[in-house]
Symmetry: C2
């Protein structure tokens, strides 16, 4: 990789001054190591503020005190902790920081003077309510590349590093909850579900263990999943985000990235340890976020009805001695975001011929350039974290999810489709389009004539 | 601001080599403009690939072709478009890029070879279903600082710039939907709501206009909202995110930032134009995301019950000639993220004395360093975008939201609390703690003795 240097002014307020660089021409000085500048500013958070500190535009390899990460090592001690702290910079061994995109709010808290940037989390009483693993999959090379299997247990497994002053944060939290869904209450009332007092109360509360998981990407293996070189992955992650985290391209020694994206939430019905036992029937759904349906009940898609149907299946599964799992991923609008999603809705409903299944994917591609950005390649990691080897009942019709899960070595038994009576009228377009594109269906796949029929409402209806 | 330079190796694979910098000592050469390096790599997306391109670690002031942004100008033409494209770099006039954190997925799409990075959105038929504004608030200085009021109308108001080849993306999309919530169906069945065929069908579908909004921050005024200097805001946004976007500190000429965080979604019941008419009764709720309750119905908080109550109030308001608004903000777990939220749940339920209201905020502060990171300072912007001058019925008990809205010049009439019968048993701790901290309540504020009572379940219950 050849390296040269171009100049940039950290103080561009006088673009006409003699020292202003010409942005079109590279600097004549080819300094391979001149990639950082520091800018001194007045301190912000008042307590113990001394002389102005310097800003470093990028970080340095070979700093003192950073602990090595040996991804996929057999034990936590060998693997080493993920340190994404913003307090003691020399301890950092990753690119990015904790809490996904909420690190931006953390910065606002410091700017507003509400948060001491030196705050270290007091982890007293926060440890997981249920022990997950360790499982052999945790050290099986390339099996888990997008989360830290030790992320829930840092207070235990890295206690000596914590005592030595390292600011190590959990990237996974496990707790217990009672969840009460109106659809489950309705299922109790109509007799589809029966209360047992253990998995489901007479009041409609289902007992769950739940886990929140932040993404932790081991870049060499993430690149392999996407079939590109690590160098290329680092480059596009930097360039296609408009220049986020220069360390992606300057610090090839840092192999772990905490991307500022949403993570996952798991809801487990029954005993979490049973997930790793292929003899115990597992009912599972991977659900990708759809705020418009999941929360507000929009009738243009099947998201919430399919989710609540899966929850019902999970409860029934637990009641007959099995275990249930919902893995909820923050990938709004096929990971295109909600603005793009709404633009596509308008284009679908206004096109000549109306909202038809045969144009369903094309309208997304016109606006977004792709049909889908969810990329299920990383999704099975969470199953391997849970020790899962077999999913007896997958509550999903997606061939992309099916292929990703089985391709990662997990066996799938039955596939459970959404019952016809749960499909809202306006969501028929989506269903037909997906079945024609390869989604699982126990029924007939719609033919070309069927796909041309306008089945979606117009915008004014 | 004094500037000097420290060195960093873009190729740290040979830390022992003679050219490797000492990370502890600043470079002796004080070059104020040596903040960028370019690294040549092989091209990734194959079509039309020529010679290897260079990576620029930071960008340059004074490039050709970037259109100026005059924030708060009276017309779209004077204001100029927001250009966050990653295709023609010289056209960019902001820090960051579109789609919030989903830009990371966009990068994955390019890495996987699924997306041509030169793709430009085809905006045919995507324009808003309902015209919002322009309103006088759009050019009232400092009134709107965290979204682009022209963001929904770019295809119209910047048509000449689009024709000239600028890649301008909507940051707001407006569409229409039918939303069907089980709680609304239940309200119809019990007679709390009546179908009218216009705002609410007999089947329980409510007619809404909805809008998705991505954040667009004008940094000088965002800093003013948080009571700090722009320089300090830029610095903490860079440092406390672990070094995201060096342009925050190197490009003070770029005043607009597209942060990689979640945005907002609006649900409007009734005629959106009526929002700007203070004579028309407006029922409104600002709701901050809580996936655990909003989607899954966890009984530890009041989020979904309060949200569905607000939707019911909005429908009734529209039916009696008013208009309703739900503004949903992606600020999971008080903008601390869900991992922190679950850690706090465990700490609350395991502490000596059990889950009590008097320790409710303290437990969050131990883990997160603050009680809340939602910072309502930017929240009222969306009301000003909609032209709102008066909220007749605010469905919220939050004093922080009330203060932010009235402080921004909007009148609030009545405040609507959550009915007692909708508060889940385990959420009593949160309710008591919030009322004691200043939340609105028409009833009695719990006293110190009351706050010490353990009202939350234990973890094993």
């Amino acid at each position: 990789m050849s390296v040269d240097t171009v100049s940039s002014s950290p103080n561009p307020s006088s673009p006409g001054s003699p020292s202003a660089p010409n942005p079109q021409s590279p600097s004549s000085a080819a300094l391979p190591d001149a990639a950082a500048a520091s800018v001194s500013l007045s301190p912000i958070y008042a307590p113990n503020a001394g002389a102005p500190r310097h800003i470093r535009l990028t970080s340095h390899a070979g700093g003192f005190g950073a602990l090595p990460i040996r991804w996929g090592a057999a034990t936590a001690t060998e693997r080493g902790p993920i340190v994404g702290t913003t307090t003691t910079r020399a301890h950092r061994n990753v690119i990015g920081t904790h809490s996904g995109s909420y690190s931006v709010y953390r910065a606002l808290a410091v700017a507003a003077g509400a948060l001491n940037p030196q705050h270290k989390a007091d982890l007293t009483n926060t440890s997981p309510t249920d022990l997950i693993g360790p499982y052999p999959q945790w050290s099986d090379p390339g099996r888990i590349v997008s989360l830290d299997p030790w992320g829930a247990a840092v207070a235990d497994v890295f206690s000596s590093e914590l005592a030595a002053g390292y600011d190590i944060r959990p990237t996974i939290a496990v707790t217990q909850a009672h969840v009460i869904l109106p659809e489950v209450i309705e299922a109790l009332q109509t007799g589809r579900l029966k209360a047992d007092g253990k998995f489901l109360t007479a009041g409609g509360a289902a007992m769950v263990t739940k886990a929140a998981i932040e993404p932790v990407w081991f870049l060499p293996e993430v690149a392999r999943r996407f079939g590109c070189s690590e160098t290329d992955l680092r480059r596009v992650l930097f360039e296609e985000t408009g220049g986020m985290y220069p360390e992606l391209v300057t610090r090839s020694d840092l192999e772990v990235f905490l991307p500022p994206i949403g993570g996952q939430t798991l809801y487990i019905f029954g005993n979490p340890r049973d997930l790793a036992n292929p003899e115990v029937e597992l009912t599972a759904r991977i659900h990708d976020e759809c705020n418009g349906s999941d929360v507000f009940g929009s009738d243009i898609c099947t998201c919430r009805p399919y989710l609540t149907h899966a929850i019902e299946e999970c409860i029934r599964g637990a009641q007959r001695g099995g275990v249930g799992l919902i893995a909820y991923s923050r990938k709004e609008g096929r990971a295109l975001g909600e603005v793009t999603k709404f633009l596509v809705y308008n284009a679908r409903k206004r096109q000549v011929g109306g909202d038809t299944a045969d144009q369903y994917f094309a309208r997304t591609e016109c606006v977004a350039g792709v049909q889908d950005m969810r990329f299920q390649e990383l999704m099975p990691d969470v199953f391997h974290w849970l020790g899962i080897r077999k999913i007896h009942r997958l509550v999903s019709m997606s061939n992309l999810k099916f292929d990703a899960i089985t391709g990662s070595g997990i066996e799938i038994g039955e596939r459970v489709n959404i019952p016809d009576e749960l499909i809202p009228a306006d969501a028929r377009v989506e269903m037909d389009a997906k079945m024609a594109a390869g989604y699982f269906t126990p029924g007939a796949v719609p033919d070309a004539e069927e796909l041309k029929k306008a089945k979606g409402r117009g915008l004014s209806e």
